[in-house]
Point group: D2
Chain length 374, copies 4
């Protein structure tokens, strides 16, 4: 398994659980990139509006967390901070309110829980919110975890089950023989294996290109910051189109995230932080008096059609790909790990069909346009 983020670590964990011999390789530090930077929302409904092929997968993955939390605590000692308190998706304008009301109706019809709250009801539940909010949707089944803890816990639990974990190992190339993977080369040395899983997030295209494989995936930088108070400002995650606030243990409140497409530059910009601070204070005025903690960033792996690549690569036997999770890597890590581990063991995973790496790509709608990409 190449990539020590939450996806690679979950795959390694599930493979080790299935008694497979696993080697997890990370070019830098475990959870050192997007996985360690994520806010950890389990926003199956908040992110997808309950629509599209991603939603079923996300819902199934969300349901795996209670059990995963227990297993990982047992094996690694790490508490992943799983909280199931729901997410409030807020409307800041009348248009957004109307859209959320329609979304609620759609989700209710489908049998998913989603509760529309008028402004007053919302403010009585979340007194920290600004009075300018126009209402919101309560999605009681969404939740959150601590992303860095989850990522490390997967890797350490994999190690506890016998997987070998190595940091600071950068892949030179994927080794092939007659359109079949036979291993990887790293530091000038070959490491042989009949199965290679590429789970390198925004760096996956780069790793795959060494085997002559093109995969359209690119980084989207997100900048975040956190504040802290002794008494928590919020008990439950709030989510808007322009920013979200996720309450963490001990009164921390994590605010995210900006979006910058196509750069590998992880530097946090002063302008990004200024914009995010302004939005966050407009939403939750008490943030102004909270203690500033720190700012950081991560590079989320995005794809042209907005769906991850999950499954066997059609060009090379033995090559599995799991990347492109964009803002849903934490949420999708349990199901990704389980299904990819099954494929690695020679099994099938029909539910991954919409996400297969070789699919024709339709450019994701943004601002009303649809364009063919691949």
């Amino acid at each position: 398994v190449v990539g020590g983020g939450v996806i690679g670590s979950s795959i390694a964990y599930h493979m080790a659980k299935n008694k497979m011999k696993v080697l997890l390789l990370e070019k830098g530090r475990l959870a050192g990139q997007a996985s360690g930077a994520a806010a950890g929302m389990l926003a199956a409904q908040a992110e997808t509006d309950g629509k599209g092929p991603l939603y079923q997968l996300a819902k199934e993955s969300r349901a795996m967390f209670p059990r995963i939390a227990e297993e990982l605590k047992e094996l690694s000692g790490i508490d992943i901070g799983w909280v199931s308190g729901g997410i409030y998706k807020l409307a800041l304008t009348a248009e957004e309110a109307e859209a959320l009301r329609q979304s609620a109706a759609f989700q209710l019809e489908r049998g998913d829980r989603a509760e529309w709250l008028e402004r007053q009801e919302l403010l009585s539940r979340l007194p920290a919110l600004s009075e300018t909010v126009c209402g919101g949707l309560f999605l009681p089944e969404d939740g959150q975890v601590s992303a860095p803890h989850l990522s490390l816990a997967f890797a350490k639990a994999a190690a506890a089950l016998g997987a070998e974990v190595r940091e600071f190992v950068e892949i030179d190339e994927i080794l092939c023989e007659h359109s079949r993977v036979i291993g990887v080369a790293a530091g000038g040395q070959p490491i042989y294996s009949g199965t290679v899983v590429v789970a390198c997030g925004a760096w996956s295209s780069r790793v795959l290109s060494s085997a002559g494989i093109e995969l359209a995936a690119y980084p989207v930088k997100g900048e975040c910051f956190s504040v802290v108070t002794h008494k928590a400002l919020l008990e439950t995650t709030v989510f808007t189109d322009s920013c979200y606030a996720v309450p963490k243990a001990g009164g921390r409140l994590l605010i995210g995230a900006t979006m910058e497409h196509g750069t590998f530059d992880r530097a946090v910009t002063a302008g990004g932080i200024a914009a995010l601070l302004a939005r966050a204070q407009a939403l939750i005025p008490g943030i102004a008096r909270a203690e500033w903690e720190q700012a950081w960033s991560g590079l989320r792996p995005q794809t042209p059609d907005g769906l991850p690549y999950l499954g066997s690569h059609p060009q090379l036997d033995g090559l599995l790909v799991a990347t492109g999770h964009f803002r849903n890597g934490i949420l999708l890590s349990p199901i990704t790990g389980r299904l990819i581990a099954e494929l690695a063991a020679g099994g099938e995973a029909a539910e991954l069909d919409p996400f297969r790496p070789g699919r024709p790509l339709t450019l994701r709608k943004e601002g009303g346009t649809i364009a063919s990409y691949h």
Copy 2:
């Protein structure tokens, strides 16, 4: 409550739980001194050999942790890392082995669990140990927590229950009227309260002296370091006279601790770390290949007779003292918090009698001598 370490925070938490109005004042950062530096062993038997007045208190406190862990997680979101896997107390020489065997017999007679293990049995349970160990005692009821998490969790849970928590507030003096406490002054401003609890660890004597009260308590510096591996070197804490190793979440192993009496200087010395590294490698050879993480120190509050001061001060009505816990502050924090909160509410706590602040002090035996101190 003056002092935002584990003791002051536990008292504030228990008072807030009893619906008292609480103000917790900390001169620097919450858990910024000894509480944040501690290894977190719950070594009721390992530290006391099951003897002395401290043991009953320690045993009772140890039994409170499962419930405390749940309450604090619920209120603060913080996982205190409670693990109940026991502690191995090791003998490095034949004399130590004989002493431990006798200790085991004594504890068993008393009805406490303590299991003597010969060298081979010990090595089969703890393969990471050096072959030079001479056997050891397994104390299955001892355990451990994460000390910084416990301290912060008490303070944040107190805040969640309505206590006010302020950092960076240094007490100028304790305000009195006719041998009765009426509050404290801080930053030139009076803060009135009928009850003042001094829980300032090694700084308690200094705070009390502003009210003309002498309390014999002094700091003992302890230096520690930690290493980390992907697969944990140890599953269970091991304890010797010269050093201990406490396994933490995610493969961290915390090694402690040197002892230097009477200094407030928190600087970690290269010589202290060198000595501790040598001892730790002799005990657990695999530490040599583990990753170095960091070194730090804390100032444990010690008293002449080795017992903490817990209870009402005889000179001033309304003044409660809770300090001098030395290496047992984490372990004793739940019971200290509960009993001091009861006293603050006007209750009684007979079991604190051996620890009352005004007691005559007998100098703790060290190297065979006993001397009267106070």
Copy 3:
């Protein structure tokens, strides 16, 4: 000397240079408070407009820096980052422009250098500035240093000259005999000395109160942040009433500072940073694309009349006071050190008369009002 900030360290350095036996005591870390947090402007003219008793002292102190920089580098190896490139004091409104033009005229008459620059000239010299500036004053003799480096360099140079430097030593009380200082007590132990210098910044009142001395001095919190670019955004410090930007080595740009009166709470607030970021971006738009580095704060010691306390205290022989430097501590540290060291050696310092600790205090003008304080 009590206080290991820039003032105490400069005094210790000048005393050691005069071959006096010196002990420098610091309760925490050298340069751990305001001195380590300061921006390091040598704004003799920018801060004073060339008026008042402080100006002569500031001017004299500013002139000492070239020599001090050399001495400290020689003795401690530390480069204090002295730069003499001047300061631009900017007008953001027509009123401010008019005031600055008058200030320039006044300073020129007095023989001090001060050059008024119209908007276009200013923008051609400082292309990073926003086009909304209304002109500014160039004060070519002001400059800057690195405040943390200067503070540490004074202390380390003092140590090189034989002074003893101790961190983590908190003063219990100043010891007196018949209205004469005989030393201090720290950690319960007396330390005898015929001269005690109190240079504890915002904590000085607290230290002096142990000797029954009241000194009206209080903290004013300032929050700052820094950004970094490869090519420097600015070559020269710019200064406005609402914020300043000081270019440091390696493309860092340090932005300061908020003001909050009367709190010892060092926590940086999200609202403070948001306000400062907004002001800084309005002044220097390129900051938006610069890399965010970090935010911090310091507690500047202020006095009712805005002048520092410098000299022998009238109530106690042997007691010297040096505090209350507000935003001018870095600038005034060389002259303060030299003159206090002369007093400590039994000399005279007539120029300190306006700053003597026992003076009657007139409340500093703020918004047009003057009020008697003491």
Copy 4:
């Protein structure tokens, strides 16, 4: 220029100084690897014994530092901490003493300065040394700089002169056309340039392999730590075969370095630090009471014959290589930068002939064996 360490940054600086258009690309952070981890010794004589082709180059480079220090301070504001106080190369056994005496004789004959000091003379000059040393060589022309400051200063000075500097840019491949370099690809985008300089230290082989070029270079990990005292323990660098101690500004003392061949794993090991601490305390007993600061590591690029690769690569026109400096990267950075910049401008550099990338390699003597490698 690919590689933002001291070598790449010096080349970029010298090219920018020659008015060339330069783009400096770094995959992570400037000075983030070996250059930021180095002790900064300018040990032209101490490392080479005044012999071999490296010595002439090192001597010439060492002579460039006074001027470089001034230029970089002027352009970047960064003080590189250049100190010319010499290096003491110590003998710990009679055999080493004899070897050093012979080395001194050889160097004196050659006209280089080298002074043999008997034990007593040495201890009177360096009272911090252990009495077990057997004498030593004083090499008055060697010296030291601060390695991270030097590296950053080169890059920032290059930026000040117009070079473009980009961090977080990883090279996908070197682009070629008919055995001529035409640029590089990074992040999927081509960047065209007639000259590409590979200065990626231990990662250079990896970068070159994308152009089908094999270069035998591999990492050698070195672990270090630092301690700090108020009064410096040492004024001058001391150097032995097993460890060295380099005094830095402000009383820091930097101790290096272990050696581990062939790993890219930067993790600092507890065993490495323990061994280094033991050696350092044996040499300078006062280290035991000094304050522990931190431990870190770096990966030095080594070559089979122990000589760096400097110059045009014979296989590809327009490709320049500068790597393999092992423990001499800091020392050799000025001359490397100057000569490679000259080559890049179409000039000649005959003195680089022994270091040309295509040379036949003779395995460096270790323990008496010589073996042919390439």
